[in-house]
């Protein structure tokens, strides 16, 4: 019993465990702050958009009086606008914890959580592979350019990645769609799969899916890889001038080996960079989905924002942010595994 406790205490003292706990607490706090912002915004903005929304719905909904009353009741209940704000807040937090994100009114009576979970897989299926591929490709190209700095490859890659890194995904998407689908007719004009097949694990569906997948995937990969390449190039240039490279060089280590070292150490900050940029990548790819009429969360967000469907806005953003937090946590875990300095508590946050 005592021994077990000691083991437990020992575990808690290990730097990596401490760091992990700190990280989880931090992410939890951030989520809490975000949820609070979601709650507070409509109540802080002058003119109380929620109340206005309710009034709007009642005026514009073309439905039977019973339905209007049902919607009104549901919304009043969910937003609890007649109660004091602290009660509203506690109720709101409770609902968020239970995963009850409320009812969409532009797609009444569907639940927001149900809607988000139908659309989210499409987004993740596009976003995760594209992010990983662009990260790997960008870093590899950037490392090679930095290693042969000023060489022909570097001189060709640098301006291209510079421009790509400043190209919004969605604009590149427009250009690619115009060139390859409209002009050259090589790819479909939009959607995630051919309209005549039903999503299933058939060869036909998968082939159709990949066919529709190519351009959205390429838009994100190309535009994102530019940024990674530029970052990696600079890191490698810095790293190549570090003392340990000089020492290893003077011991006769081959250039190949030195490049391996430099790559290993330069890639570490890029892992952190990935965690930091997940939000931007997500934002960019949501808009890219719109360009391709891809049935992902981007469509949901757009619909919610343009129709002022506040329950859906709140719910979608809460889930998107939760997804980001989980991804962030995963990236941090990977970082801890590959950087020994973190494991041994040498560098903290």
């Amino acid at each position: 019993m005592e021994g077990e406790k000691a083991v437990y205490r020992g575990l808690l003292k290990r730097p990596v465990v401490k760091l992990l706990i700190r990280k989880v607490v931090f992410l939890f706090i951030t989520y809490f702050v975000f949820i609070t912002i979601i709650f507070a915004l409509p109540r802080l903005v002058p003119g109380n958009p929620l109340a206005e929304m309710l009034a709007n719905i009642l005026q514009t909904m073309q439905a039977t009086p019973e339905l209007v009353r049902a919607v009104e009741r549901r919304l009043m209940e969910e937003f609890g606008l007649h109660k004091p704000w602290h009660e509203q807040y506690i109720e709101f937090l409770g609902r968020m914890l239970r995963g009850d994100l409320g009812t969409s009114y532009s797609l009444y009576p569907r639940k927001v959580s149900e809607l988000v979970f139908t659309y989210l897989p499409w987004t993740l299926g596009l976003l995760i592979p594209a992010t990983l591929v662009s990260w790997i490709a960008g870093n590899t190209l950037g490392a090679l350019a930095g290693y042969r700095r000023g060489g022909r490859f570097d001189n060709a890659l640098l301006p291209v990645s510079l421009i790509l890194s400043q190209t919004p995904y969605y604009w590149l998407a427009m250009i690619l769609l115009y060139t390859f689908s409209v002009k050259l007719r090589l790819f479909p004009l939009g959607g995630a799969y051919p309209s005549h097949v039903v999503p299933s694990f058939t060869l036909e569906f998968i082939a159709g899916y990949l066919y529709h997948y190519t351009l959205p995937f390429l838009s994100i990969v190309l535009a994102a890889a530019g940024g990674w390449a530029i970052g990696m190039r600079v890191l490698v240039i810095y790293e190549l001038r570090s003392d340990y490279v000089d020492f290893a060089d003077s011991l006769g280590l081959s250039d190949r080996k030195l490049l391996q070292y430099v790559f290993k150490n330069s890639v570490l900050p890029q892992v952190t960079g990935l965690a930091l940029n997940l939000g931007t990548i997500l934002g960019g790819s949501l808009i890219t989905e719109l360009v391709f009429s891809y049935p992902g969360t981007g469509y949901l967000v757009f619909r919610a924002l343009t129709r002022l469907d506040y329950p859906m806005i709140q719910g979608t953003f809460a889930i998107l942010f939760l997804t980001l937090i989980l991804a962030n946590f995963l990236v941090d875990l990977v970082y801890m595994v590959i950087d020994p300095r973190i494991r041994t508590g040498y560098i903290g946050e």
Binding site: V33, L41, Y238, G279, A304, L305
Partner: protein, 280 residues
């Protein structure tokens, strides 16, 4: 900044070229609408006409002149980019320098707040805030972008201050009895001028991108033209699928040119001021 440094900076080719591009676009944005006085919002032309001598960049689905929209759009995007980046810079520099100069508990609290805001995805936050305003004028959009993009500036300014603080001249000022605040304003910030300028440049390119993103998803400015609004209408009215390239190619190209030039300027300055990147 001593003029010798300025002179040397102007010798860096990519700096000068990028600056020229920006100044050109700035000039176009400021003067263009008066030289080319066509009203960007008046639907008086034949709709969806390709570029012609009458409408150099064609017309949109409502029969409005795209070039006129582009000129007004450049002006608007630059305005929002500049205003938003000033707001973010002001918040970031204030928080960063208070944290860096005061140290101790103040530093810890401010940096915790900064880290939390940094962890919130700024683009989602912007969308969320913008969604609750029915009318969004350029100032409001600038404020929304500004208040969500400062955290990295605060962190960077603080880090710079801490490294500057360790240098001798701060020590002398302190011995001479200057207050922390005076040291920050009179000694430290001028030493960071180049650095702060770089931050402004990066913020500005980020803010123009953010404006376009907000507009694309439907929560940009509610009146007027901006590069983002042009792209929004091109997207809404299926310009891509209907082959109306003159509607979305120009605003996007200008946006990329502006943003890439700003990035190049900051890279060139960075290389100039941090000798590790220069060929020693």
């Amino acid at each position: 900044m001593p003029s010798r440094i300025l002179l040397e900076i102007f010798k860096i080719k990519k700096f000068t070229i990028s600056l020229a591009i920006i100044l050109l676009l700035l000039f176009i944005g400021l003067v263009g609408p008066s030289i080319y006085p066509t009203d960007p919002f008046e639907a008086v032309f034949r709709p969806e006409d390709p570029p012609s001598s009458k409408n150099p960049l064609g017309t949109d689905s409502y029969g409005r002149d795209v070039l006129a929209q582009l000129l007004h759009g450049i002006r608007m995007s630059l305005y929002i980019g500049f205003t938003a980046s000033l707001i973010a810079l002001a918040i970031g520099v204030a928080i960063g320098s208070i944290a860096g100069v005061k140290g101790g508990l103040t530093d810890e609290v401010l940096m915790s707040v900064t880290n939390v805001v940094l962890a919130l995805p700024s683009i989602l936050l912007m969308l969320l805030i913008a969604a609750y305003f029915k009318y969004r004028d350029p100032m409001l959009v600038s404020i929304i972008i500004g208040v969500t993009s400062w955290p990295w500036v605060a962190r960077a300014v603080r880090a710079q201050l801490l490294s500057l603080r360790a240098r001798e001249f701060v020590h002398f000022s302190r011995m001479a009895g200057y207050s922390d605040f005076r040291i920050a304003v009179e000694d430290l910030l001028p030493n960071m001028a180049a650095y702060i300028f770089m931050a402004l440049v990066l913020l500005m390119s980020g803010a123009m991108m953010a404006e376009a993103g907000l507009s694309m998803i439907g929560v940009g400015i509610t009146r007027g033209a901006s590069l983002g609004i042009m792209l929004y209408w091109a997207q809404m009215l299926e310009a891509v699928r209907r082959g109306l390239w003159w509607w979305f190619v120009p605003p996007g190209s200008v946006l990329v040119a502006l943003s890439a030039s700003l990035l190049m300027i900051s890279t060139a300055l960075d290389e100039y001021f941090s000798p590790r990147l220069k060929g020693r």
